[in-house]
Symmetry: C2
Subunit: 369 residues, 2 copies
């Protein structure tokens, strides 16, 4: 296959795979696509170890790193990371802490033994910059930025090192903001996607973004893409490749939490919800008692980014290991309905390509004279 995306990176298939798991990232790149490691949850030291591992296991193939540098969040003006975190902790209302404690108790989750706020990593400019510095010391091919255009100096630094920059956008206006600061690749992500999403569907969004950014910019289609037919659809809409995420949560190599895995495998496409209950911004998750509770009448409402995640961060590992399991949720898109079987990462890549080829053959039969 040959698109501007495959040519730019010298990859076989225009399949980009976002994952927080280094094994998946390396396996996708080795299989002919391009893995992109989500750096969000790693400290700079941890990220260094992850990237070193990938460098050793990716077989010389290109890979990328994704950081979160939101354009808007509480605390942007509150000083450096340490200072900001302290001040933000003090701003979390007692009502919210009580609601969370009661919710956890109701579901039998073990109580907290410490006050952890180290878990806030990468949700802010202050905390993401050290991740970028680590990433750019490695031979990465792509630096991706979620939640708004990356700072101009970050784009410039990446470009100096020959690293391409991608930005996620959920509408045409945001896409143009990204190209204005020199982003090379727009990941146009429809509302059906997992994690942070807008409200426009992939079907409607991709042609709009392709037309809005013009011929100089590569567009990848994201949201609802997990099968070869969807890959063909994404390219038919005008994209030069597809950006996938959810489908890598249920591969053999994935480090998805043990109690989330069976829920993901059992869920239908109707079992997700866009909710602010994790990060403070609308993001698509598995609909569980967690998302229900924050939407309920008793809910104090969610806090703005990054305070919502600061509030809950300490509870997440406890929810993952204790209690009745009903609060366990996970960021995932509507494609979760097709994720019913655990396969190897390379098999998922090959299945995507095989069904893509079948879809192309069918399309050509439709149009042949």
């Amino acid at each position: 296959m040959r698109t501007r995306a495959t040519e730019l990176f010298g990859i076989e298939y225009p399949i980009f795979a976002f994952s927080h798991c280094r094994d998946v990232v390396a396996a996708v790149s080795r299989a002919g696509g391009m893995g992109v490691l989500g750096a969000l949850y790693f400290s700079p030291e941890e990220l260094e170890l992850e990237l070193k591992w990938i460098d050793e296991h990716v077989g010389g193939k290109p890979y990328g790193v994704d950081v979160v540098m939101p354009a808007k969040y509480e605390g942007a003006e509150l000083g450096d990371a340490e200072e900001m975190l302290g001040k933000l902790q003090g701003m979390i209302p007692a009502e919210h802490r009580k609601f969370l404690d009661d919710l956890l108790a109701e579901h039998g989750v073990e109580p907290s033994t410490e006050t952890a706020h180290r878990a806030l990593l990468g949700w802010t400019d202050q905390t993401a910059r050290p991740q970028v510095e680590v990433a750019l010391r490695h031979p990465i091919a792509l630096l991706a930025s979620a939640l708004g255009p990356p700072p101009a100096d970050v784009v410039a630094e990446a470009h100096e090192k020959g690293v391409k920059v991608a930005g996620l956008a959920s509408n045409a206006r945001h896409a143009r903001k990204q190209t204005d600061v020199g982003v090379d690749i727009i990941v146009a992500q429809g509302t059906e996607a997992g994690g942070h999403t807008g409200d426009v569907s992939t079907m409607v969004l991709i042609p709009e973004v392709v037309d809005a950014v013009g011929d100089e910019t590569i567009v990848l289609a994201a949201g609802g893409i997990g099968r070869g037919r969807q890959m063909a659809a994404g390219l038919a809409l005008g994209a030069d490749g597809v950006w996938t995420g959810s489908i890598w949560l249920t591969v053999e190599e994935a480090d998805t939490p043990e109690r989330a895995m069976p829920k993901l495998l059992a869920a239908t496409s109707r079992d997700t919800v866009r909710s602010r209950a994790w990060t403070g911004k609308p993001a698509r998750f598995l609909k569980t008692a967690w998302t229900d509770a924050w939407e309920s009448e008793n809910s104090p409402g969610t806090l703005p980014m990054p305070m919502q995640f600061m509030l809950i961060a300490d509870a997440l590992p406890r929810i993952a290991r204790s209690g009745d399991g009903e609060l366990v949720t996970f960021p995932v898109g509507q494609i979760v309905g097709s994720m019913n079987q655990v396969k190897s990462t390379s098999q998922v890549v090959y299945d995507l390509v095989e069904e893509f080829v079948e879809s192309m053959e069918r399309l050509n039969r439709i149009t042949e004279d």
Copy 2:
């Protein structure tokens, strides 16, 4: 182009066009697609006149009729149409009537001069059956049913007359319910569509439905399809054709209300909302003061189908012709963002086909060796 849908109906392009306007229906069929008249707002006598006109203007090409026979609604057990309407009118709470009157007054809409409930046509089995009887006396090729599987006897009667039956479905389970009663064609409609919609996007929904209904059933892709690239994407996802609706609201032949037209032309893909404020079931509309008001804190909430529409039916023509215009809304999908120019119906058909061909050429360049 050749799909099972074009072969079944002997049409040139697998483009199905839903419209309440007879001129659009006839023009799409004459241009090589297939027009489908929405019968909802016509009395049996009016529908007879509309179909007679189409018979005379469609040039012998096939066309269809779409009725609404919801599987679930208030009043199903309340007797015949006349009796049911009277009883349901009495069940509308005074609080809702007052909220509506205040809202209309606030926006300068002229007061009511009559109590009209004739506008409730076709939202129920009782009121839709006379429409079906009229439709089946005409040489229609397709009878489509929105909001759940049509009654088995209606399917049987259509089949006896050689008329194919289509059913709209917004998830795979509903699609199977339709095929269980003998529906020939599933219109699988994503959440981005205008009018009544589910919550799963077209990108995710189409492969699910295609796989769920098996090879015997033709699937049409609906929701977010208004351009040739989206048509290509719909077929790539496994559909045998596309079902379009919104894009026919802004063609030259359309009888779209005068004050709605400029709003449709100006709207972006982000200016729609799924709301119960029109029919009582979730349907996608232009987001205006009307949809905002019914979602606001002061709202008494919406009534179940068909009572919500009975409550508001009398006000709609007054909103359309008087007041500040802010309450004017219209059912439309997210594709409204691409509807920026008034063109003839035939031009829209040709543009769809032309961009589809371009998209196919691009896909083939991507895959050529």
